[in-house]
Symmetry: C2
Subunit: 122 residues, 2 copies
Amino acid sequence: MKRLNSKSGCAVEVTLSVMGGTWKPIVLFHLLHGTKRFSALARAIPNVTQRMLTLQLRELEEAGIVARTVYAEVPPRVDYALTELGRSLEPVLIAMRDWGMDYAQRQGLQEAGQGVQVSCAA
Amino acid sequence: MKRLNSKSGCAVEVTLSVMGGTWKPIVLFHLLHGTKRFSALARAIPNVTQRMLTLQLRELEEAGIVARTVYAEVPPRVDYALTELGRSLEPVLIAMRDWGMDYAQRQGLQEAGQGVQVSCAA
DNA sequence: CAGAATCCGAAAAGATACTG
DNA sequence: CAGTATCTTTTCGGATTCTG
């Protein structure tokens, strides 16, 4: 059992210790739509390197947030899915998505004609 | 006007570009309870250094999330408060707090007797 | 395909000392 | 009180190469 690395005991810190970082929320958000294999996640997140994606997924697995399933096939196939605990993060992820969409909308109005587009909203 | 540093246009990335990082969500959460001065924030977040607190507050100010008010007094006094845009982050912050409390509770049950305490829940 | 291993530069963050 | 300035340390993360 991993120790919570929250020194002040703040509830927000606890959450950040599990799903904080640049990539974890994005990975989790994509997994919200269902099980995905490694290559699918990599394609969905163009800016992540193979290395970082692997590292983040391992940490999420350790925290019990995602489940990793390896199929003994050739070519190899590995699936990632949210666990029940992982799915419990949905409200947080949805709140983040909603705010991001609203914010882009506001910015879009000010950067008239810049064509701000927020995809992967589903 | 600062550019959104979201390369893939994912709404979650937009949110992270504004309130991502180790300290910003915690700072914002504390400001949710009302205007606070610099020293009050520093006390509320024991693990942050003066330097990091300053840097994060400056970034939040630049993003239009917090408002900084300097009073021409001796000793100096500086207040930080959420702007309207900042307050719109409340659902995200509350979702994070709620999840953190639930998670600590689960962990607490498994680490029986460890005395997990999550404060600053208000 | 899904990674593991290694190397390396950049960036984040901490400690400490100083100031209007 | 509310910061700056500077320095050092640590971590992050990219590029590349290799493998079952």
